[in-house]
Amino acid sequence: MLPYIVRRLFVMIPTLLVISAVVFFIIQLPPGDYLETYIAELQAQGESVDQGRIQFLREQYGLDRPMWEQYLTWVWGLLQGDLGYSFEYQLPVSEVIGDRFLLTAIIAVATVIFTYLVAFPIGIYSAVRQYSTGDYVFTFIGYLGLATPNFLLALVMLYFANVWFGTSIGGLMDPELEEAPWSFEKVGSLLEHIWIPMIVIGTAGTAGMIRRLRANLLDELHKQYVVTARAKGLSEGKLIFKYPLRLALNPFIADIGNLLPQIISGAVLVSVVLGLPTNGPLLLRALQSQDMYLAGAFLMFEATLVVVGVMLSDLALAALDPRIRFTGGRRR
């Protein structure tokens, strides 16, 4: 197991490096840099431009140096935990971000757990009772979940949560707790608010997961070992949990590689609609004002979250299924 973990960790490094290069390339794509826009804006307003500050920023981020040097500086900063400087807020990016990375990660993890908790029993039920009324109902709801844009679902759920349960509109906690340090009360308020984004973001992923678990389990259910076990008089519940389900579970866990990007994408949209203090709204703002280091930090963080998540699922898979450890990593 240990060599596998080490190998898997080493594969991550070049992947993250290439991702950082792509992110850097993308955030450099818009013509000009923020400082040019900034100077033009100040001059348009008739204000004097603080040449010293501009010069300081230009030098600190090497905006006058060649592209590859800028990239190296940026990556080197990232490695040391320096995410760069947000031009719009005139603060280091890490200060602008504050709790947002943590809250984004919390929502993503909560949604993954929600997805598994819901998809698991429903998937099993739909496969074991294939073509029953329940199966049709869940399939129908699942398709609807796949097809409904989740930002609209968020809006509607927010409205009804407010009308029926009196949950405060927007945000992830009561407004007065937002600035407070972390406490039990704050966590409680977070739990009270997190379920709306969790359900909204999780719907599409859950629907897909149910479909795949159902299909996998259906493939296994008609195999001969199931018939043998049944002929030997094993109780139906024990039979399903002990044999076919275990085999159908592999893709279920491996699926996190598809699920995580989907959840994080969904979270961005939903956060903008719900006004959550996560990455989404700030990323949108950063993109609109071309505050590129801020946007780059978000993109980098989200891609890293996905890469780490996929690695964790690979490790879980290797722990569950010994065959995987011996077939040289990800190669064919």
């Binding site: 992947t15 290439v18 993109l287």
Partner: protein, 392 residues
């Protein structure tokens, strides 16, 4: 032991049936139906198999109908895209009735009486039972420029003379939602097609190279796909579309967005092409073509691709709904298409805050065609995928 072998012929002696040999004697005559099946071409069999998937068939019919609407949007919509009705701002949907006071009139609506509630300052519309406004069919209504080419005023349905026909209500400028949804279909339903066409080119190119050459090329393409897929799509969409200059004309933005959609969607198709090619290039007919001196391009294009074209079409169909949803999301955030271009996503930007859900819920109606079209493409794709391999 020897008892059993008593009846067997002596060693070296063969039994020969004296009757004359008729090679056709054992053949079972094929029924007409079987004969029809075995003589049918691949595409015919695919069609037969597809027809059996009821849901997919109906989805296909629905989509054809939708694309007809896209073609003739000006004729289907009772109003022009931008025509405003200042007397009917935020008017709720008008209900269609058939009977007025027990007497059959045909489809008609009751006209609205407008009044401003002075306490809440909300506009209140009350259906006035005296204003019976029968809907006209195949009629002359507002004039429009058909696809911007020539003037006409023929509509499928029009409001009564001097009356109104807001089947799905109006928005904040008093524009008819139904007409706007019909016009919006033109953008929303074509952006997916253009995006998929580009995806097809990219996916076939990269998947084809990786699958046919294998080795280093394959490794490179595989790694590229892996890295592209570890980005969450929406943030990447957002970033890329933020790059499109604001000064671009709406048409350019439209193409820009579809190119971005294609850039992020090709990996799935490329993977499908690659894995199919990897197995197909080992087939005998590929080796035969190679031995006869065919160039790689000819082998891929003439021999390998046609043998899984049906699979490709199925996966392309399944990629369209993703694009439609992505366009809707991007436009909703204000990063995609912008007015005056009207797509379903642009229409939904009007429904951005919670007041809309409470006061003007009909502004969320553009989501209905989105759901319908996405579902229809999904079912159609499922049906096509099942039918794609008819010999299974």
């Amino acid at each position: 032991m020897s008892d059993i072998r008593k009846d067997a012929p002596e060693p070296g002696e063969h039994y020969v049936d004296p009757a004359p040999f008729d090679p056709a004697a054992d053949d079972v005559a094929m029924s007409a139906e079987q004969e029809r099946y075995y003589q049918a071409g691949q595409w015919t069999i695919i069609w037969w198999k597809f027809k059996r998937h009821r849901l997919a068939l109906w989805s296909g019919i629905l989509l054809v109908a939708m694309y007809l609407i896209v073609l003739f949007a000006e004729v289907v919509a009772p109003y022009e895209l931008h025509s405003r009705h200042t007397g009917h701002i935020y008017a709720p949907p008008q209900q269609l009735h058939l009977f007025h006071e027990g007497a059959f009139v045909g489809p008609f609506v009751y006209g609205y009486d407008f009044k401003l509630n002075m306490e809440t300052l909300q506009r209140e519309y009350v259906a006035n039972p005296d204003k019976v406004q029968p809907v006209r069919f195949f009629c002359a209504g507002e004039s429009y420029a058909f696809w911007g080419l020539f003037e006409a005023d023929f509509h499928l349905v029009c409001p009564a003379e001097g009356g109104t026909l807001f089947l799905l209500g109006t928005d904040r400028l008093g524009r008819d939602m139904f007409s706007r949804i019909v016009y919006g279909a033109r953008i929303s339903m074509t952006i997916g097609l253009i995006g998929v066409a580009l995806t097809f080119v990219l996916g076939m190119l990269f998947g084809g190279l990786a699958g046919y050459y294998g080795g280093l090329v394959d490794e490179g393409v595989q790694r590229a796909i892996e890295i592209l897929r570890s980005f969450p799509t929406i943030p990447l969409f957002m970033t890329l579309s933020a790059i499109l200059p604001i000064t671009w004309s709406p048409v350019l933005v439209f193409f820009g967005i579809s190119i971005i959609l294609a850039l992020l969607e090709w990996p799935d198709l490329a993977r499908a092409v690659r894995s199919k090619l990897l197995s197909l290039r080992e087939e005998d007919f590929a080796t035969a073509a190679q031995l006869m001196g065919a160039s790689p391009l000819r082998i891929i294009g003439r021999h390998l691709l046609p043998s899984f074209a049906s699979h490709l079409i199925a996966s392309a169909t399944l990629a369209i709904p993703t694009m439609i949803l992505a366009e809707t999301a991007l436009s909703f955030l204000g990063l995609g298409l912008r007015p005056p271009v009207t797509s379903w996503g642009v229409l939904l930007t009007e429904a951005q805050n919670i007041n809309v859900v409470a006061l003007y819920p009909w502004l969320m109606l553009p989501v209905v065609p989105v759901i319908l079209v996405v579902l229809a493409f999904n079912f159609l794709g499922d049906g096509l995928r099942d039918a794609a391999d008819p010999y299974k």
